[in-house]
């Protein structure tokens, strides 16, 4: 890739303009009703990261609260699947490839792929295509791509599988862990904490950015209508997030519950049809899938279709279904559901730190605990995500 400096930076700077941020902040302050509180969940880890990295909480009035959602693909992968990957990597002659953050996820007994790497061939890659290249270059080795992520990373995995088929690579397989955003949002909205108990007050969602470029804005219309919650799809730049918060406040004030699209520069109502077709060709729905924090969520993940069974690592290596409970002291589950905040966890910042993560939320920079630990720790008296009623 060639990075063209001028155009690239202009794009970034435009969406990080402090003066514009100040203007939106003034509008938010003027329009937020001081007699009530607003609780918005940003579903995506990308938003969590932007909010923390740019200090967005400092620009919001005290009665506008952000709740971090479960949209960090690394954080929601259950321990059992990580354990599967670690065991698979021990297979003699096998090369396991995955994205960087995956390697650091803690599994059982303090093990991680990064630690297993000392004795196994585990490689960090930047794209699914890299895994195909590795398979081409190492015909005598089995190469497994540990695929994770929401709808954004699924099409590239589909491309890799189709490419491997064209190249007749018989040493390339995918350990598929792709998950679906709408089912996770439904699950949160149907959870007793939100529906019955009111433990998690939710007045709306900042909708996914990159996921929506693939699936479009239409899939969210169901939530808006069924659960009467506004959704504003927003880009991952800080001005996008600020604008989305303002749009959510307006909807809440006017009693509307609609899907609005702040990220019009990239998201179409129907999404990317070509990518959707590609995914539908290679993958099919799993009846159920375990999420860290959310438990078993029906129809929330994808598996490889039987017509591409040759490229399915779960079939080739007969990967067993194992379910391993989280560390007892770890509150990642409750944090991923928005029920608790990082600082509510007893081991946050003491036993569990980015250097020695116990829970998955402390691993990726998009995880709520890591973002809070790395960027917001100084707010001791005024926590980054207050949720008082």
């Amino acid at each position: 890739m060639t990075i063209h400096t001028k155009a690239g930076m202009k794009y970034i700077d435009e969406f990080r303009d402090g003066n514009l941020a100040g203007k939106i902040a003034a509008n938010i302050a003027a329009e937020a009703d001081p007699r009530r509180h607003y609780h918005f969940m940003e579903f995506c880890g990308g938003h969590t990261h932007a909010i923390s990295r740019h200090g967005i909480v400092d620009l919001l009035p005290g009665n506008v609260h952000m709740i971090h959602g479960p949209g960090c693909p690394v954080c929601i992968l259950p321990v059992g699947r990580v354990e599967n990957a670690i065991q698979l990597a021990q297979t003699p002659g096998l090369i396991l490839c995955s994205y960087g953050d995956m390697l650091r996820i803690p599994a059982a007994n303090g093990m991680s792929l990064l630690k297993a790497k000392a004795q196994a061939d585990i490689r960090m890659i930047y794209s699914a295509a890299d895994a195909v290249t590795i398979a081409q270059k190492n015909p005598q080795h089995q190469v497994v791509f540990l695929a994770i992520g929401f709808e954004t990373t699924t099409p590239p995995t589909a491309v890799a599988i189709k490419q491997a088929q064209q190249l007749r690579l018989d040493n390339f397989t995918v350990f598929c862990n792709h998950v679906l955003t709408p089912s996770a949002i439904s699950h949160i909205l149907q959870s007793p904490e939100v529906r019955q108990l009111g433990v998690v007050p939710l007045d709306g969602f900042v909708g996914p950015a990159h996921v929506s470029t693939v699936i479009g804005s239409q899939p969210y219309e169901y939530f808006a209508e069924e659960f009467q919650k506004p959704v504003v799809i927003a880009g991952f730049e800080p001005l996008d997030v600020m604008q989305a918060i303002l749009m959510l406040i307006r909807q809440a004030n006017e009693g509307r519950a609609e899907v609005e699209n702040e990220f019009t520069r990239a998201v179409l109502p129907a999404g990317n049809i070509k990518a959707q077709r590609l995914v539908a060709e290679v993958f099919e729905l799993r009846r159920t899938f375990e999420w860290r924090g959310l438990g078993w969520v029906p129809y929330s993940a994808l598996k490889i279709k039987s017509s591409y069974a040759d490229f399915d690592a779960e079939r080739r290596f007969r990967i067993p279904a194992i379910s391993i409970a989280d560390n007892k002291a770890c509150e990642c589950g409750a944090i991923l559901r928005g029920v608790k905040q990082p600082q509510d966890c007893k081991i946050f910042g003491t036993v569990c730190t980015p250097e020695n993560p116990i829970g998955s939320c402390m691993v990726s920079s998009e995880g709520a605990c890591a973002a809070y630990y790395s960027y917001g720790r100084f707010r001791e008296k005024n926590p980054i995500m207050t949720r008082e009623n």
Partner: protein, 352 residues
């Protein structure tokens, strides 16, 4: 260089610096080793101490406080835009010595070579090292060579050790930062790390950025001449600005507040970081320094730095504050605040 076997002219072929490669015998203490040392290392580094061909360099003792520092270099790739492992190994150690305010005097260089490494590449590296040492006027006065079997190394590893003398009245140390002090950097951040990253085979993106590798002794001398009472100097290498400031904050038991708007960062570095999900504050530098001094001194120090070729883009980027948590914080360009934490994990291995 160790070994003292004298090679009779005419009895052995001279070193094939074009097509030859490092062999196990080059580290065995015999004629081949003596030949390598004479024809490659001594020829390039030539100075009165090396010419004595002893196992040690002998020199007069200095008056005043002396400083010593050592640094191993394992960078991959060995050659990169703006430098190579040779120049880097000279600059790196000189910079570690001068961050105390010292004048660097002597260097020692130690090589671990991998069997099969092309002698032409080794010559390029040694010549670059000699050039860097000569430019800095710091001679390489002693050294060592070892050869390991093919597969046991990665071409060449270089360890350099430096010795320097601190001028009278200069007391620069990492625990000297005081609340109210200003924090300065000598130029743009992250150039070295991004230049290296662009060459890694699994990334292969193109950028115009070159490594900033440079010896900072002259810049430091100019700075001390302008402001003798600099409190802290530090070169932000591995872990970048963030790691260096966190270390200083902890050692001085203070906090820091940076201003994102004031950070000098080349546009291509920012763009590459955006692409790869990296933060330029954590990217390595090899020719930059951080200085901390009182606000009054900062007014004098900044123009002195900017007047030097290696400090043209110098800027005041923040201040030292009282904070018992020793947090390094940043006022973001966006208008909020955040912690600039220690680097966790590895952003990029084998960077220097």
């Amino acid at each position: 260089m160790t070994g003292s076997g004298k090679v009779k002219p005419g009895y052995s072929r001279s070193l094939d610096l074009k097509k030859g490669c490092v062999e196990m015998v080059h580290g065995s203490g015999g004629r081949a080793m003596a030949q390598l040392i004479e024809q490659l290392f001594v020829a390039a580094f030539d100075n009165e101490f090396l010419r004595q061909m002893n196992d040690q360099a002998c020199f007069q003792s200095f008056n005043g406080r002396m400083v010593m520092s050592t640094d191993s270099h394992v960078i991959t790739p060995l050659f990169f835009p703006g430098g190579d492992i040779g120049s880097l190994s000279v600059h790196g150690t000189i910079n570690d010595v001068v961050m105390s305010g010292a004048k660097p005097c002597y260097l020692a260089g130690s090589f671990i070579l991998e069997e099969g490494f092309p002698l032409s590449d080794l010559k390029r590296i040694v010549d670059s090292m000699a050039q860097a040492a000569q430019a800095a006027q710091v001679p390489i006065v002693t050294g060592d060579t070892k050869v390991v079997e093919k597969g046991s190394g990665d071409g060449v590893f270089i360890t350099t050790t430096g010795l320097g003398v601190v001028p009278e009245g200069i007391h620069i140390a990492s625990n000297n930062a005081r609340p109210g002090d200003k924090i300065l950097v000598s130029g743009t951040l992250g150039d070295h790390g991004i230049a290296i990253l662009a060459l890694r085979e699994n990334l292969s993106f193109h950028t115009s950025i070159e490594s900033d590798t440079a010896a900072l002794h002259d810049l430091v001398a100019c700075m001390i001449a302008a402001v003798p009472d600099i409190h802290v100097l530090r070169d932000p290498t591995r872990g970048g600005l963030a790691a260096a400031l966190n270390e200083i904050a902890l050692q001085s038991f203070v906090g820091m507040m940076l201003y994102e708007n004031e950070l000098p960062i080349h546009e291509p570095v920012n763009a590459a970081c955006e692409f790869l999900g990296l933060d330029p504050l954590y990217i390595a530098n090899e020719g930059k320094l951080i200085a901390i001094c009182t606000p009054d001194d900062a007014e004098k120090l900044l123009p002195a730095m900017q007047a030097h070729p290696l400090g043209q883009n110098a800027a005041i980027i923040g201040e030292v504050i009282e904070d018992t948590h020793c947090f390094v914080q940043m006022q973001t360009r966006f208008g909020g605040k955040r912690v600039v934490d220690w680097l966790s994990g590895e952003q990029l291995p084998r960077i220097c």
